[in-house]
Amino acid sequence: MGSSHLRPPTAMAIRARLGFVILLLLFFSATLSAALYEDQVGLADWHHKYIGKVKHAVFHTQKTGRKRVVVSTEENVVASLDLRTGFIFWRNVLGKNDDIDQVDIALGKYVVTLSSGGSILRAWNLPDGQMIWESTLPVSTPSKSSLYVPANINVGKDNLILVFGGSSIHALSSMDGQIVWRKELSIDSLEIQQIFQPHDSDVINAVGFVGSSEFVVYHISYRTGEVMQQSKASFESGFCGEASLVFDNLVVALDASKSSLVSISFKNEVINFHQINLSDLVPDFSGKVTLLPLKFNGMLAIEIASSIHLLRVKGANELEFVEKISHPFAVSDALPLSKEQQAFAILQHEESKIHFKVKSDNDLRNEILKETIQMDSHRGNIEKVFINNYIRTDRTHGFRFLVVMEDHSLLLIQQGEIVWTREDGLASIVDSTTSELPVEKEGVSVAEVEHNLFEWLKGHLLKLKGTLMLASPDEVAAIQAIRLKSSEKNKMTRDHNGFRKLIIVLTRAGKVLALHTGDGRVVWSVLLPALRRSETCGNPFALRVYQWQVPHHHAMHENPSVLVVGRCGHGFDAPGIFSIVDSYTGKVQNSLMLEHSVSHIMPLPLTDSTEQRLHLIIDAKLQAHLYPKNSDSLKHFFNEMPNIYWYLVEVEKNKIRGYSLENKAELDTAEEYVFQAKELWSIVFPSESEKIAVTATRKMNEIVHTQAKVVADQDVMYKYISKNILFVATVAPKAAGEIGSATPEEALLYAYLIDTVSGRILHRVCHQGAQGPVHAVVSENWVVYHYFNLRAHRYEMSVIEIYDQSRADNKDVWKLVLGKHNLTVPVSSYSRPDVMVKSQSYFFTHSVKSMAVTATAKGITSKQLLIGTIGDQVLALDKRFLDPRRSVNPTQSEKEEGIIPLTDSLPIVPQSYITHSLQVEGLRSMVTIPAKLESTTLVFSYGVDLFFTRIAPSRTYDSLTEDFSYALLLITIVVLVAAIFVTWALSEKKELKEKWR
C-alpha cells in the first residue's frame, strides 16, 4: 500500500502522503478499537458458565480425590461439578444434534457418554475432561438405546462396555473404544429392554420384546458375544413396550391395554407369564399408567394419574401394594448401599416444603432417613433427583440429594440444608429484552431504592462494625458484598452513560429473570405460574418477552413492565398465555389465558395514555386481537388502523401474503378488539426452483440519524430507509440440504428485498452456485447476508445497499437552505419511489452461527456487524469492509471518505473478537442494546453461556477513557491559572517601572 505512494518528494507528494498517513492512522486506530489490554478483561464484561437442565448424573465420591458429580444435560453438555461448591471442574459441549442418551463412569477414571441415538460413544478423562477415545457405532436406525457399564471393576482386566439399541448389542473395550464384538440379533422389530449381568458370571442376559406380543431372553457370553441360550414365548394379549426388571429372573411388564401387569419369570429356557389386574392391586384405579424405570430389587413403581404407587414383588405371581405418593414428587434410581442392600429416595412437595424419604429394600414400610427442607416457591416443583450416600462417622449412611427443579436449576441438599444452587435455566434462554433501572432521585438515598429501611440500617450498622474492627469474618464478607453491590457499575440505579440496565430474560422453563448488566447477577426471578404445567394447560411453553409499559412522561410513578407470551401446547392453534411482570420487582401483575391462539405478535409503534404499548396478536385463524383491551388503546388504534398492515411468511407453502385490517364488529362488544384480515397481496415463489431459506427485517427500535449518505466530493445519495423492508433468501430445493449435497449447477440462491406494505419487490438478485445455510441482518438501508459459494468452496458475505432515486434531485443548496424540499415529508410505500441498488460480495473464512448489528442511541456512530462464529466467539466486523463502493483503486477523495481498497476476502483481525479469549458455548443469539452514550453499544450474547460486554465501534469519541488522569488535568489547570496570575502581576510591575522611567 505504501509503495504506491513513493513518488519524488515534491510538494504534491508531501501533501498526498500527509493525508494518507492520517488516513492510515485513522484506519489502525479504528481496527484496534475493539481490542482490550489483558488487565481490562472483566472490567466492562462478564461471562457466566452454565450447563443446562440435568438429565443424568453419576457421582464419583471415592475416598481419594475430589468429590465430584458428572452430569449430562438437555443442552448436550457433559460436565463434572465440584460436589462441595457446584463449580464446574470441566465441561464439554457436544453438537446441537448430538443428544446425550446416557452417561456413566468406566474403570473409575473415564466418563463414558453415549449420544446421537446410540451411535457415538465417547470416553472423557475424569479429572480434566480430555477426550480419550471416540467410537462410532454402525447403528442402522437411531433408536432408544442404553449403555451398560459393568459395575464390578476388576482392575487390570479390560472391561467391556455394552451398548444396546434396537436389535444389536455392541461391546467396546473401555481402554481404547475398539469394538470387541458386535451381535446383531437378527430378528425384526426386536426391542431390547434390559441388559444385566448376574453377579460373578461371564454371561449377560438381554431381555426384550419382539413386536408387541413376544418376549425374548438371550444369554450372551460377555467375552465373545456368542448367544449361548435363547428363549422366546408369546403372550396373547400383547405388551405395550414398558417393562421393569425386578429380579434377575423376573420382569414385570405392562400389557397392551395398560390395565394389567404381566410378571414374566424366566429360568432355564422356561418363560412363564402371569397376569395381574391393576384394579385388584391398587385401590380406585383409573387413568393413565406408566411404569417408572426404577431399577430396584423386588420393587416396582407405577405412575397412575400423576401419583406414584409402590408395589412390592414377593414372587412370580404375588404383588403387594405398599404406598401411594401423590403429586408432585420425584423418585430416584436405586443406590446400592452394600451387596445386599439397596436404597432409593422419594421426594415430595408440600407447598413450600420438600420431604425427603430414603427407603431401603429391607424394609419398605419405614424410612432410613426423613428430612424436610424449605424451598423458594420460585423454583417450582422437583423434576428429578439423584442420590448418593456417604458413611458418617458413626458408620451409618448419610445421603446427598442432587435435585433438578422445575426451573431447571440444580441444587445439592445434604443434612437438610441446601449446600449449593446453580441457576442452570439460564442455559436455555428463549428471548430477552431490557429495562431501565430506577432513577436515582435527589434526597433519596440509593439504599432506599434498593431495599427497605431495615435492610439499609442493617447495612450501615455492618459498615460501622467493619470500621471499628468488630466484624466477624462472615460480616466482613457481607460488607464486601454490600461494597460490591454499591460499587459504581453494580448500582441499582440509572447511570449517566446508560450502561446500567436490567436484562430481562425468558427461559425455556417459563422462568423470567432480571440480570444486572454490571456483573450479571440475578436481581429477581420468577417462575411464571401461567407457564407451569397445570390442569388447564398440560404442556405450556414460553415464546417471547416484550416491553409492555415503559413510563416516560405519563404514569411516571409506575414501574415499567414486560409482557411474556406463551402457548399452551405445541400446535399453532393452541391457546396463548399472557403474563405481565413488573420489571423492577418481578411481581406478576396480570396473567391470563387467551381464548385464541398466538401465531404472530406485533408490537405496534403506539402506546395508550398510560404508556402501555399496543400489541396485535394474530391467531391461527388470521384474526388480529388488540391488547391491552381498553377503550383508550382502541381509540389510539383506530386513528392508525388504516396504516397498519401485516404479512405472513409461509415457508411450507413458499408464500408471503400481505394483509390489512378491518373491523366488522359492533362497538361495545367483546368482538370490538378483534379485527379481520383482508388479503392485499401475495408473493408465491415457484416451488420447483425456490424454497424460502431465511427472512430478516430491521429491528423495530433501530434509530437512523440521517437519510443522506455523503459520498466522495460532497455528493449526496439518499438512503431508502424503510422499516417495512423484508429480506428473503430462497435457495433451490435441491440445494436446501447440507453443503455438498448439491452440485454448483443445481444450487441457486435468490435474494429479495420486499416492501411489506405493498408487496412490491424492490430488488432481486441471483447467486449462482450458492447455497445455505443463509444468515442475514438488515439495518438502515442495507442487508448483509452470509451463504456458501459452492464454486469457490468458500463462504461468502454479500451486501446490498438500497438508495432512493426519487429524492436524488434534492441537490440545490439554496432550496435546502430555505427549506424548500420534500425530504422530511412522510413517505408512503404506495408512492412507489424509484430505488437504486449497490451490491458487492466478499469471501469470508468462517461459517456463522448468528449475525447481529450494533445499535446506538442516536444512530450516528458507524456500525459494526457482530458475527457469532462456529467457535462460539463473537467477532466485530466494521461495516466499512462490507461497503459495495469499495474499488481496487479508490480515488483520493474516496480514500478521504474512508473507503478501503477492494480485497476479495474480508479480514479477520484477531483483536476484534469482542469475546477476547472466552467462548460463549452453544452461542445462539446476540442482542445489541444502545447505551445512552452515543458511541457505545451493549452486547449481550447467549447460548449455554452468557456473555455481556460493551463495545464502541468508532471508539469512545464522546467520553474520556476510564484511565484518563483527571488529577493531571486538574493540576495542569491550577498551574496554568497560577502562572497567568503571576505573569500578570509581573507585567504590571514592569509596566509601572517603565512609566516611572
Binding site: 406485533m602 397498519i644 404479512y647 422499516k723 434534492n810 443548496v813
Partner: protein, 177 residues
C-alpha cells in the same frame, strides 16, 4: 501593536510641546518674547520641515497599506503546503489566515492614526489596505471551502435532516414457535 501605540503617543507628546496651537494660554509669555515677531527664515525652515514630514508620512502610509501583500503571499504558500485535508496544521493556518485580515480591518483607523495629517491624504492607502486585507479574507474563505468546512454543498444541509417518517407500518413475519 501595544508598543506602536506607545511610541505614537510619545511622539505626539513631543510634537505638542513644540506646537504653537496648544500652548497654554493662561501662562503669560516671558518678558521680551514676541510670538508674532518670529524670524521669517525660521518660519520658512519650519514649513519646509513640515512638508518633508508630510511627504514622509504619506510614504509611510502607503508602505503600511501595502504591507498585507507580503502577508498574503506567505499565507498563500502556507496554505498550499498545508494541503486540502482537515487536520490541525491546515485548520490552524486557515484560521490565522481568516483572523489576520479581520483584526487588521478592525484596526484600520489605529494603523493610519500616526500618519494623520491635514496635508496627507490617507484615504487611498486606507482603501488599498482594506482591499488587500479583504483579498486575504477571501483567500482564507477559499481555503476553508477547499477544506470542505463551508456549507456550500447539499450534503451539508441534508445530513442534519432527520429521515422522513413513514406513513404505513407493517409487522408480522414467520409464525412464532
Amino acid at each position: 501593536m501595544e508598543k506602536g501605540k506607545g511610541l505614537a503617543r510619545r511622539w505626539a507628546v513631543e510634537f505638542a510641546e513644540n506646537s504653537y496651537s496648544s500652548s497654554p494660554v493662561d501662562v503669560p509669555d516671558p518678558m521680551g518674547f514676541s510670538r508674532s515677531s518670529s524670524d521669517p527664515d525660521d518660519a520658512n525652515a519650519s514649513r519646509q520641515k513640515k512638508e518633508a514630514e508630510a511627504a514622509w508620512k504619506a510614504q509611510k502610509a502607503w508602505e503600511v497599506a501595502q504591507a498585507p501583500v507580503k502577508n498574503l503571499l506567505m499565507m498563500g504558500f502556507m496554505m498550499w503546503m498545508a494541503g486540502s485535508t482537515v487536520h490541525l496544521f491546515s485548520i490552524g493556518i486557515t484560521f490565522s489566515a481568516l483572523w489576520q485580515p479581520i483584526s487588521a480591518l478592525q484596526g484600520v483607523g489605529k494603523v493610519f492614526e500616526p500618519y494623520k495629517d491635514p496635508r496627507v491624504d490617507t484615504l487611498a492607502p486606507k482603501l488599498l489596505f482594506i482591499a488587500l486585507n479583504l483579498a486575504g479574507l477571501v483567500l482564507g474563505i477559499w481555503k476553508l471551502n477547499t477544506l470542505g468546512l463551508l456549507p456550500t454543498h447539499a450534503s451539508d444541509w441534508v445530513s442534519s435532516l432527520p429521515p422522513a417518517s413513514e406513513v404505513e407500518y407493517a409487522g408480522g413475519g414467520l409464525p412464532v414457535h
